[in-house]
Symmetry: C2
Subunit: 372 residues, 2 copies
């Protein structure tokens, strides 16, 4: 990308509220430099005019690029090697969602490559009004994911997002914050330090040029980016109306796995998760399950261990005889036949097995439970 192209992309990134398929179509036809010139001059198709009319006279591309340079960032577009083309290809298959278009330009700050992120990322998202349980679970999942070499994408918000980012950083893993405003606008401001760490060690990314402040509809647009960069979206806690449900809806539309973590049904912070589960989201209780869903099955977690009972693996008749023994004192084989309902001839075999296993002992013709 030469300087003219960079200035053109920066101008185009601001002139229309993203995503703007009409603008993308023009750029696709004539390239960014010519597209920028036409937009600036007002020589654009009618369908595009209304989208760029309000801002086409604004050109602060030089300043925007200077800010980006100061942050150590870069513009990434479809022509770049790190453009996550495979991940974004899914937008083409989405119907009925008006914003289903890949970004035109991404403003990125951080050492991670976008294509590498998209090849191994899970989103861990949820409510800002998280409970201690939710933050604990978000941290646990994030640590488990990066421990299995996955990247953790989230929205940089308070609550679940922040817990996921922090835990990924603490585990020295890769984490990515997708913002609803410019990469130079730390939002929420209380996360300025956290976002700086993410930019230093992972990636902060946005469709919006520097200086743009988050707005409600920009959070929704951003959620689509979180879902698109991730093989699975895990909703850890979400209220009845949470942005996380919107991210989950994008994940589903894009053909990605939608996962929800169960929580107490008495907790309003889990209502959105349970609604997703009722709508056939995957129940996840461990990071390894998310890893399986995003297809990195090379490192499957071991099976959950189950408590072991001395009766495991016994035949039914052996269990029946064992159960027929009293807690104290002994019984003859005939008495055990009556108690268990088995014929006397079928009691001795099981008793022999139980004796070998050390579960019962025989003294003077009377059988009793072994002391343990």
């Amino acid at each position: 990308m030469n300087d003219d192209e960079a200035r053109a992309w920066a101008y185009l990134s601001r002139v229309a509220e993203p995503p703007c398929p009409h603008l993308a179509a023009l750029v696709g036809c004539v390239g960014p430099v010519e597209a920028a010139a036409r937009v600036r001059g007002g020589a654009v198709p009618q369908s595009l005019r209304s989208h760029v009319e309000a801002r086409r006279h604004i050109d602060c591309a030089e300043q925007d690029l200077a800010i980006l340079k100061r942050l150590g960032g870069r513009l990434v577009t479809a022509g770049d090697e790190e453009w996550p083309a495979l991940a974004f290809a899914a937008f083409a298959g989405v119907t009925g969602r008006p914003q289903s278009h890949e970004p035109l330009v991404l403003w990125a700050v951080g050492p991670a490559r976008l294509d590498d992120v998209a090849a191994r990322a899970a989103a861990v998202v949820g409510t800002r009004a998280a409970t201690a349980y939710g933050e604990h679970v978000a941290a646990d999942f994030a640590a488990g994911l990066v421990g299995r070499d996955a990247a953790v994408v989230s929205g940089g918000a308070f609550g679940i997002d922040g817990a996921a980012h922090r835990s990924a950083l603490a585990t020295e893993g890769l984490t990515v914050a997708a913002l609803a405003g410019g990469v130079d606008v730390p939002y929420p401001s209380g996360h300025a330090t956290l976002l700086r760490r993410i930019a230093d060690e992972g990636l902060v990314v946005s469709e919006y040029p520097p200086g743009v402040r988050p707005a409600r509809y920009r959070f929704l647009t951003r959620n689509r980016l979180v879902a698109a960069l991730s093989g699975a979206t895990v909703v850890v806690e979400a209220g009845a109306r949470s942005g996380a449900a919107n991210t989950a809806a994008w994940a589903r539309a894009l053909g990605r796995a939608v996962c929800a973590v169960p929580g107490p049904i008495t907790s309003s912070a889990s209502v959105g998760c349970h609604a997703l589960l009722k709508d056939h989201a995957h129940v996840v209780t461990r990071a390894s399950e998310v890893i399986e869903l995003i297809g990195r099955v090379g490192e499957l977690a071991p099976e959950e261990s189950r408590p072991v009972s001395p009766l495991d693996g016994l035949e039914d008749s052996e269990k029946r005889v064992y159960e027929a023994l009293p807690a104290r004192g002994g019984r003859t084989a005939d008495q055990l036949a009556v108690a268990s309902g088995l014929p006397p001839t079928q009691v001795l075999g099981p008793l022999a097995v139980l004796e070998v296993l050390g579960l019962v002992v025989c003294r003077d013709g009377r059988w009793k439970l072994a002391l343990r």
Copy 2:
């Protein structure tokens, strides 16, 4: 049922460990009185012999019936009007589960009719090692179920079962305890008073004759009865290896709805519930959802209310203009066009709508958020 028949049924109930399809087949052929005589005399088919050999000499039918009479109970068999034939018919369709046979005899104590129970029951079951959360949820579901005229079936155990029974009684609803031992053997003994109340107001029922003590395999047999009497089985809390999972497996085999209540993934008492959810059990968070599953949809619960936002129902352009307004101070329509990215001609319409809704005010050509 005359006295001879009653004595025959009582004898047959004890002579083979239930369920015993070979014994049921003989009774079906020759009736209970003749079947009892043949079993007593040892004149039975080879296939049945091993099942009755150990106990055929035991005849305490008179005493058993006397105990039942003292408790105010009754024998119920397929010939009785209250036999839940429709519910038990599902056993015929189950394959691959060896105990899939309807009971031969039920020992019942209490004013409720079995067929009435089976027509409107849900099972509420779970671990004995319940948490405060689990007991709260069990009580809440039981109260919600009986409040909608459903019956609550459970196993009379400590923990979830007890919480469900107690709550149903407290709400003056119908509750049924299915026992893994005789109806005169309160188990656990700490629930003697609770079981007496259930027998006084609802129903205590068992396949086992008086005096029989519960054993591990009898709990499994009992679980099949809990599932068969219920249109849905709700597992409230269950550990990694819980009898509740067995009840749920019976419910699924019998074509009944299997429901699990989510809980914290950090709680070992919810591990079994989450395993069921991963295995496609219904996620339930309210009793009304269980009611829908057992088909009593006449009394649907109202939709869960969602918090209301002033932006509900606004068009996208109206939301964008609204979001473009600063928290303090005002903006001109042209400034709002730039901020929102909408053409100036498309800002005034949304502003008018927002003004009518009382969300914005206009002073001297500058628009600002209305104070609320």
